[in-house]
């Protein structure tokens, strides 16, 4: 029960975090930092990390 709750939490968290990431990258772009065209791979990294956490969480919850 706890495990499924944790999994669905990770699922639900993914969207907002992705949104924050995209927003931050654009904000950096507009403030004169590195261009979005060069920073976009950060989105892939964030998605990957979240996916990893998703896998790790249930096991952690069961133990």
């Amino acid at each position: 029960m706890n495990a499924t709750r944790n999994t669905s939490l990770m699922c639900a968290i993914r969207g907002p975090i992705l949104m924050i990431t995209v927003g931050t990258l654009f904000a950096i772009d507009h403030m004169g930092g590195p261009r979005f065209s060069s920073t976009w791979p950060a989105i892939l990294i964030v998605v990957g990390v979240l996916k990893l956490l998703e896998r790790v969480t249930p096991r952690a919850a069961q133990s």
Binding site: R5, S8, L9, C11, A12, I13, R14, G15, P16, I17, L18, M19, I20, T21, V22, G23, T24, L25, F26, A27, D29, H30
Partner: protein, 495 residues
């Protein structure tokens, strides 16, 4: 029961507040702010959702499967697209200064505000007028007056009226006297280039005023001036008419430079498309890279053109000289003429005086004038040569090609010889100038020219003079030229 997100209502409240504030305080630049800070909306939105999800989780409430619903994602994507567009639009001119690539759509951002300009000042009869234009067109005309009179309008593109007013105050149009100079300036360099300020002016100046125009982007239209005119701009179309002095034009980019009826020397430098010089009493010197068509008509003194592919010198242009992408045509020019070009078809008609022509790739049509012919020296690398010589002209011809067919349509004193894959046509009709044509590769044709005969006309007219003496032309004409000359001319077309 699943909890419902608070973000939807919050967005509604935010949009409502935004429009409310905008209506109360119109001077706040909302669109400008939006274009700069829209990513903050994404961040706040994301944080709200995150906090929501965490709160539900710790309270033990059921969590929606996806933290952000499909509808929300659509909104997010739309926000990104519009935000980027607005940002790109408002920063276009800032990031690429000096360049003005207009993309339809960019200009729709912001509104256009117009401010009328009316100024005048006493400057004397022979002032030196310096125009410091930023963006915008200017029209200068000379008149019998000792005043400078300016009318026109300043256009400012901005998101809000208040912002446009500020820009207008920062960059007024002024007439300033500095020593013997009268400076008319638009002060557009005093404001941020992203402000998109442009000034269109009509200026009346004393007829004897020297004009010195400088601009970034905009046309210069100048007429009826009795002194020198100099124009220097990053991007301009220049039109000049009725000038007693000289004209100097230096442009980084232009769509057209046109000068009609100039008494002095004309000098055009830079890059652009078309150049059109007509009725110039002085010399004409044109330097640079031009992608359009260059036309020179009626130039009394030497014409010099130094282009990327071609160089040309002509002593006097009675008729016209046209230089276009793939073609150069000289019609009724007086030599000494010198032309060197790469990969262009060349046509030289009715030229007098000497001709020195070097070309690499392209066909050539040559027709010297009957009056005052000069020495002709032609070298081509690759291309056909057609030489039309007046029937009664005196000359000494040696025309050779190393590889290609040789055809003697002139007849009698000239004779044809074949050597290897090429051949030559040689002959003398009397004491006249030398004509030397050397072709590396290409067909060589020599024929008789007649008045009104177009050099590109098909061969039959060459034989036409034989017709009147021939029997009544009852037979179909195509047959006649073949038989008639053979019966009449003692030494027909030599082999």
């Amino acid at each position: 029961m699943r909890p419902r997100s608070i973000v939807g209502p919050l967005i509604l409240i935010a949009i409502g507040t935004l429009f409310f504030v905008r209506n109360l305080y119109p001077q706040i630049e909302f669109f400008g702010m939006f274009s700069q800070y829209w990513p903050v909306i994404l961040i706040v939105w994301g944080f709200l959702r995150l906090i929501e999800v965490l709160t539900w989780h710790f309270r033990g409430q059921t969590i929606t499967r996806a933290g952000v619903s499909g509808g929300e994602w659509t909104l997010v994507v739309l926000l990104c697209i519009f935000g980027s567009l607005f940002y790109w639009g408002s920063n276009w001119s800032m990031r690429w200064p000096g360049r003005n690539i207009r993309v339809s759509g960019v200009e729709i951002f912001g509104e256009q505000f117009d401010y009328p300009v009316t100024l005048e000042k006493q400057v004397g009869r022979t002032p030196r007028v310096v125009l410091e234009m930023g963006r915008g067109n200017v029209r200068v005309s000379g008149a019998d007056t000792d005043m400078v009179k300016i009318t026109g309008h300043q256009t400012i593109r901005a998101y809000e009226q208040g912002d446009a007013d500020r820009t207008h105050k920062q960059a007024p149009v002024e007439i300033v006297t500095m020593g013997d100079q009268t400076v008319i300036r638009t002060n557009s360099d005093k404001v941020d280039s992203s402000r998109r300020l442009s000034t269109d002016l009509e200026i009346v100046v004393p007829r004897n005023a020297r004009i010195d125009g400088r601009g970034k982007n905009g046309d210069f239209d100048i007429h009826d001036i009795n002194a020198d005119v100099e124009i220097n701009s990053d991007n301009a179309g220049v039109r000049v008419q009725n000038l007693t002095g000289g004209l100097k034009v230096d442009l980084r980019r232009s769509d057209i430079v046109r000068a009609v009826n100039v008494k002095g020397n004309v000098e055009v430098k830079g890059r652009g498309q078309d150049v059109d010089l007509d009725s110039i009493d002085g010399t004409a010197v044109v330097n640079g890279a031009y992608s359009g068509e260059l036309t020179f008509k009626n130039i009394s003194k030497p014409l010099r053109f130094d282009g990327v592919q071609s160089d040309l010198r002509v002593e006097k242009t009675v008729g016209s000289v046209r230089i276009a992408m793939g073609r150069i045509a000289l019609d009724n020019v007086q030599g000494p003429t010198r032309l060197s070009t790469r990969s262009r078809d060349v046509q030289v008609r009715d030229f007098s005086g000497s001709l020195d022509l070097t070309m690499e790739r392209g066909d050539l049509e040559l027709r010297p004038s009957v009056n005052n012919p000069g020495k002709v020296d032609v070298r081509t690398t690759n291309g056909d040569v057609i030489l039309s010589l007046p029937a009664n002209a005196k000359f000494d011809l040696v025309a050779t090609t190393n590889r290609g067919e040789v055809e003697n349509g002139f007849g009698a004193p000239l004779h044809r010889e074949t050597e290897g894959k090429g051949g030559s046509i040689r002959g003398t009709t009397g004491a006249g100038p030398q004509i030397r044509v050397t072709a590396e590769r290409g067909a060589l044709t020599v024929r008789r020219a007649h008045d009104g005969d177009l050099p590109s006309a098909p061969p039959p007219p060459t034989a036409a003079p034989a017709l009147p003496k021939a029997p009544p032309p009852t037979a179909p004409s195509p047959v006649l030229p073949k038989t008639a000359p053979a019966a009449k001319v003692p030494a027909p077309v030599s082999q």
